[in-house]
Amino acid sequence: MAVASPTLSKVTTADPLKRVTFTFLLTGLVALLVGALIGPLQALNYAGIDVYQYLPFLQSYYQGLTLHGVLNALVFTTFFICGLMLYLPAKELDLEPNMIWVWGAYWLMLGGLLMAGVAIILNTSSVMYTFYPPLKGHWGFYIGLALVVVGSLMIGAEVIRLRQRWKRAHPDEVTPIVTYMSVITWSMWALASVGLVLEVVVFLIPWSLGLREGVDPQLARTLFWFTGHPIVYFWLLPAYISWYALIPKQAGGRLMSDSLARLAFLMFLLFSTPVGFHHQFTDPGIPAAWKMVHSLLTMFVGIPSMLTAFTVAASLEVGGRARGGTGALGWIKALPWGKASFTAQILAMISFIFGGAGGIVNASFNLNMLVHNTTWVPGHFHITVGTATTLTFFGITFWLIPHLTKKPLFSNMMALWASWTWFVGMMVFALGMHWQGLLGIPRRAHVSNLVPNLEGLYASALAPKIITGISGMILLVAVILYFWVLFATVFSRKTLAEADVPAIPFVETTKLRSEGVMKLLDSLWGWFAIAVILVLLAYLPTLIDMFINEVPVPGYRVW
């Protein structure tokens, strides 16, 4: 039952944690809206259609692509995760975080976002979200992004602190599962961010301010990818938290194996970071033997995702059967497909089957040679971060925004349409781009604007080009549908009756005693220490060599 209600602020100020969470989520989502609207232009580019010549607000395809990547892959993800992965553990533990600290982090991040955003919009920093030197952007770009990262680490520190408080009050109990997974994700991110922070703070910011003459591009790349691989788990694990610990409740089931879920997350803590060289197989400056080591370690980090697939599917099956599904596959039909929040996340999981498989290809040293820096790569990450993560986050908003604001979801039907359209659009995009990649077409290239004597260069790719172009139009519809639902919900004048406000769908768990194997799994500081050691082993020899033999080269502005 919904009744007419006054302004938005009245329903959220009652709970300061809800207010800051809502602010984080909305900021991230607005950034995504801007970034995602540039997407269809890029899809048209890879269909061979150049619309950039008509656009007054973008100086080039490359500026647009930088904005798209930064807003979608760095800003949206980080802000949304800071909201989600602060709120869920705090609510699970029933503890309130330090609100001054949390708001401080938010304002720092917003300031950073604005700095970096303005730098990009003024076309000073069309360097892509990887900003490899010697491409030299404006100091506002680097400082801005650094602030976003620092703010996220502040939120992570606060969640870790919350767990410590809880453990002191409950010494004989094992950390509740959502908090456990959140703390692991934040710890993993803290370790992972070291590379990027070093690169930006020691090298890129001083360089862009004129305090340093040059930067060693091989060293910079290595520090970037130190973070660049585990960042994908920073994006993925929050989705996994929903799949493990919330979706089973939404499906009417339970989490099949609490300890296996914890084990999967521990494996991510250990193996997410010491694998970055698999993004650098084609770099001459990394010894081949070390590339091999990282390739092997990457195979290990594939295993917890395999575990997740099983446990999540089993949990869903329990739910389906509890809802009356019978037979080998009947449980699938019995799942609550009518609920947008549920369906969006299942579609996200399906997308990840393909994304994960493609990831194995990317991590395989020899296969990587064929796909590196082709359009295969964006094909891959649009169905991983772009769908497994983003569509899961959309699905979460369908209950979380009503939960935070006490406003009803504008339209479950429209939300379902948005989810299916996004999924289909991304699958079609992935088909087009993986295919173009196998034909050797490079990524990040304004291929619809070739000089006349190169016309027809990619004529052999006509079929996948058409597919990519169509996908961009499907995704444009999806963007409009989702954000319509989002804003119509946020600005709704109705209020839900207290009984109708969605609760956080925490899965039922048994309170586990901290003993034996469970106590071992819960000894997170120890596991973190092992993770650090693994990273040192995998990276230190190469990094030391690069630092000693540093070759700083001058920067260029080439856009």
Binding site: R221, P442, R444
Partner: protein, 319 residues
């Protein structure tokens, strides 16, 4: 696992645990299989993987002045043994075209003059990051005829999409014929005439007939002639490049012109002479005296930046 959850003798739970064990074993086996396959493939054939060459680390200026890169191109080392030295820069590969006989076993030495470029040869497993400050080396045997497209696959600036080259693998009997028509000789240091210099270096931006590219690089017909009159400007332009928006014949152009210091004095002189006598420039140039290598040489001391050349252009109020 999970016996603490109190779900003893739950047939559903036991079934799940059974399948869980099988799935874990399968996952482990799959990972192991991949590891074995990858190791095998790379041990048996991993020579296409880029490594640092000996003495392959140093300032770009220093690396580029070394033996390999003074004259980038193809050199025969012996029967079917070739060495290719390659320099990538915004926005071309030098050499743009690599001509090889069928079955050629090639060792590449490649680097970048400015930003990071990619080097990917279609239908091969050559895929390399060319990083300024590093000389990459890698090997490949070209055992199939054809023309292989080469693209830069690492974003390098506004004209990244136009940075392409090619590898042509032909029958050995045809090789000599093609080289003769290209004006090149295998095994000797390349001494190119102005037209060949233009084709290998300038054409990727200014186009084969000097047409230019709207918004980026001006057409050269008549334009070059107008610049000739400010004697001394043209050699500086070629040696040091130009950075900044210019207006030519009422149109705006803002592509970057890279520096071409790596060309010899004779090559710069000859390519200027070629341009100034082509595409209508000769009709406009007043009292054209061809450049010589001696004309170009003194300008090498100026040590200008592309921004300095831009300011010079503005100061001279060149059209």
């Amino acid at each position: 696992m999970d016996s603490q959850n109190g779900s003893q003798h739950d047939p559903q739970h036991e079934a799940v645990e059974r399948w869980e064990r099988r799935w874990l074993a399968f996952s482990g086996l799959l990972s192991l299989t991949f590891v074995i396959l990858i190791t095998y493939a790379l041990t048996v054939e991993g020579t296409h993987i880029a490594q640092l060459s000996d003495n392959g680390r140093g300032q770009p200026e220093v690396l580029l002045s070394g033996a390999f890169f003074e004259n980038p191109g193809v050199r025969a080392l012996g029967l079917n043994n070739y060495q290719v030295s390659l320099v990538a820069q915004t926005y071309s590969f030098n050499p743009t075209e690599i001509l090889l006989p069928l079955g050629a076993e090639v060792v590449f030495y490649a680097t970048s003059r400015d930003v990071i470029h990619g080097y990917q040869i279609e239908n091969t497993n050559i895929n390399v990051e060319l990083i300024p400050g590093e000389i990459a080396t890698f090997r490949y045997t070209f055992d199939q005829l054809g023309t292989y497209r080469v693209v830069c696959n690492e974003y390098c600036g506004i004209s990244h999409q136009n940075m392409v080259g090619q590898v042509r693998v032909v029958n050995p009997s045809e090789l000599a014929e093609i080289q003769a028509s290209n004006g090149l000789e295998v095994g000797a240091d390349a001494g190119m005439v102005g037209e060949a210099v233009y084709g290998s270096n300038c054409a990727s931006c200014h186009q084969g007939e000097g047409q230019g590219q709207a918004g980026l690089w001006p057409p050269l017909g008549e334009h070059a002639a107008h610049l000739y009159n400010a004697k001394g400007y043209l050699p500086k332009l070629l040696l040091y490049g130009l950075n900044g928006p210019i207006e030519v014949a009422g149109e705006n152009y803002n592509g970057q012109m890279p520096a071409w210091r790596q060309l010899g004095d004779d090559e710069i002189a000859e390519v200027l002479n070629y341009i100034l006598t082509s595409w209508g420039n000769d009709a406009v140039t007043e009292n054209f005296e061809p450049y010589t290598a001696e004309d170009v040489e003194p300008f090498r001391d100026a040590a200008l930046s592309p921004d300095d050349v831009y300011e010079l252009r503005q100061a001279l109020e060149l059209p």
